[in-house]
């Protein structure tokens, strides 16, 4: 490990003599810096998307998995009796931790976002809702449905599976898309740095040929280019990462009304993740430049 760290530090500090033999190339420097910065900026967002959708999938998965709802639709005179009967059934159902009928205020609060605060809930034929919280083991949904059908015919059990599954699936897909975007960004960065490195190598054919003439080894010549492009990618990606993190930090904070969109960002130690982007960009640049330099040098006498 020490040897690797020493090699990395030697590489970063560099050989000032070796750095001077390759002339500065303006346009490839700007191109590499800009593309690394732009890619790192996008990577920060892709990372934020992945982490946010991951959190969302977990939240939806764990919160909804342990709760379900019973909806009782019955004529006015039977609603209270059927609610009572359903609660009794739930009390004796294995796997049900707690069950309670929602008050009319709670039901009104649930409908408020759609119908406004002045909805006369009492005058409308709104079904009674019972919130059921499961134990760790969970209950037998089919058995409960049969018992409810016998004791409270107006009761319909909704264990949220129907809409929880597609939501969790959608969140998982979004997370995968986020990671796929990061991979694509990495590949695009490698492609752009390869192009820039090839352009720099082609522009410096004469320099390379002189260096070979005076006895430079391939590793010496390759390292001069590798170091240059790695540092450029590291610097560009560092700038892009900082800008991306600032942009994420300036997004509106998570609000219940905003739902998913305002939850896009990093939470807690997840803020450390973007710091890996410049390091990865540097590694990608190093690999891409090394491959390009070795290929160019192999073709030279």
């Amino acid at each position: 490990m020490k040897a690797v760290l020493s090699q990395v530090s030697e590489f970063l500090v560099g050989d000032t003599q070796a750095d001077r033999v390759v002339p500065p190339t303006g346009f490839t420097a700007t191109l590499t810096l800009f593309s690394a910065a732009a890619m790192a900026f996008l990577a920060v967002f892709a990372l934020a998307l992945s982490l946010a959708t991951g959190r969302l999938a977990e939240q939806w998965g764990s919160e909804l998995a342990r709760s379900s709802t019973i909806r009782i639709s019955a004529p006015d005179g039977q609603l209270a009796a059927q609610t009572e009967a359903a609660l009794k059934v739930l009390e004796t159902t294995k796997g049900v931790d707690t069950a309670r009928a929602l008050s009319s205020e709670e039901q009104q609060a649930l409908l408020e976002p759609w119908f406004g605060p002045d909805l006369p809930v009492d005058t409308l034929p709104i079904p009674q809702l019972i919130e059921v919280i499961e134990t760790e083991e969970g209950y037998d949904a089919e058995g409960l449905r049969l018992r409810l059908a016998a004791e409270a015919p107006g009761a319909v059990l909704d264990d949220h599976t129907r809409w929880r599954r597609p939501l969790v699936k959608a969140a998982s897909r979004l997370r995968m898309l986020g990671w796929a975007s990061i991979l694509l960004i990495g590949a695009a960065t490698a492609a752009m740095i390869t192009l820039a490195a090839n352009a720099a190598l082609a522009a410096n054919t004469q320099v390379i040929s002189v260096l070979r003439l005076v006895g430079a080894r391939d590793s010496y010549i390759a390292q001069a280019f590798e170091r240059r492009f790695t540092l450029r990618a590291l610097t560009g990606a560092g700038i892009g990462m900082v800008l991306g993190m600032v942009a994420i930090a300036l997004l509106p904070s998570a609000q219940p009304e905003g739902g998913f969109l305002t939850g896009l960002g990093f939470q807690g130690w997840h803020w450390i993740w973007p710091l890996t982007i410049p390091i990865l960009a540097g590694l990608v640049a190093f690999g891409a430049t090394r491959a390009a330099a070795r290929k160019t040098l192999r073709d030279m006498p």
Partner: protein, 225 residues
């Protein structure tokens, strides 16, 4: 040192050099002559591993060039100083840095080599031009700087390709004197040139072997020289 045995080299579908055998003994001085396009530069390139022979053997310091890794060839080139007709400098580095380039690529400490570098720059008469960039130099200054770069690693062999091609007679004489001086120090020298007057002038100071490429083959030049 450098040995070619029955070497042929094909270029563009035709044979450029054929049945070339040559042995550069330590401390020898060779002139290589022949008309333009005869293959003088190609032969020099074969001598420092920049080209591989189509057939035959080229041995650099006893190793067959075909069996040498690229790094081995790079190391061998540190023992062979090459002066090109067009000099081949790095235009963004000044004269002093260009002369020191072989030291840089060999990882030698330039501060420790400072005195050596100064002495060499003075030997080729470029002390006052040490800070100039190559495009600012005259033809003669460029050739002298290229010679200084070729010998800074104290190589065993110096190969010069038309070193006097772009310079006047006086400057040619000055360069020739430097090459003869190097030979007296024990270096093996081979100069490719079509300048017969230069060869005649050299022969009054040094015992040189004159080789001529004619009809793709290498011959010892006769009494016309």
């Amino acid at each position: 040192m450098i040995e070619l045995e029955n070497v042929a080299y094909n270029y563009g579908g035709g044979e450029l050099l054929s049945e070339i055998s040559l042995k550069l003994q330590p401390g020898s001085f060779h002139f290589l002559t022949g008309p333009s396009g005869a293959g003088k530069t190609t032969l020099l390139k074969l001598c420092y591993g920049a080209l591989l022979p189509t057939s035959g053997q080229v041995r650099l310091f006893t190793s067959d060039v075909r069996d040498m890794e690229r790094d081995d060839i790079a190391l061998a080139r540190r023992r062979i100083g090459v002066v090109h007709q067009d000099c081949q400098f790095l235009d963004h580095l000044n004269v002093s840095d260009n002369i020191a380039l072989p030291l840089m690529v060999a990882g030698r400490d330039l501060l420790a080599e400072g005195a050596n570098l100064k002495e060499l720059t003075s030997w080729v008469g470029l002390t006052a031009r040490a800070g100039a960039l190559p495009p600012e130099l005259s033809g003669g200054e460029r050739q002298r700087a290229a010679l200084a770069r070729a010998v800074i690693m104290s190589p065993d062999v110096v190969l010069a390709d038309e070193p006097t091609g772009n310079i006047d007679w006086d400057m040619s004489q000055r360069l020739l004197r430097l090459l003869i001086e190097l030979n007296r120090m024990g270096k093996t020298i081979m100069v490719a040139t079509h300048d017969l007057a230069l060869i005649r002038a050299a022969k009054t100071h040094v015992q040189a072997r004159v080789l001529r490429i004619s009809n793709r083959r290498l011959q010892l030049a006769g009494a016309d020289l």
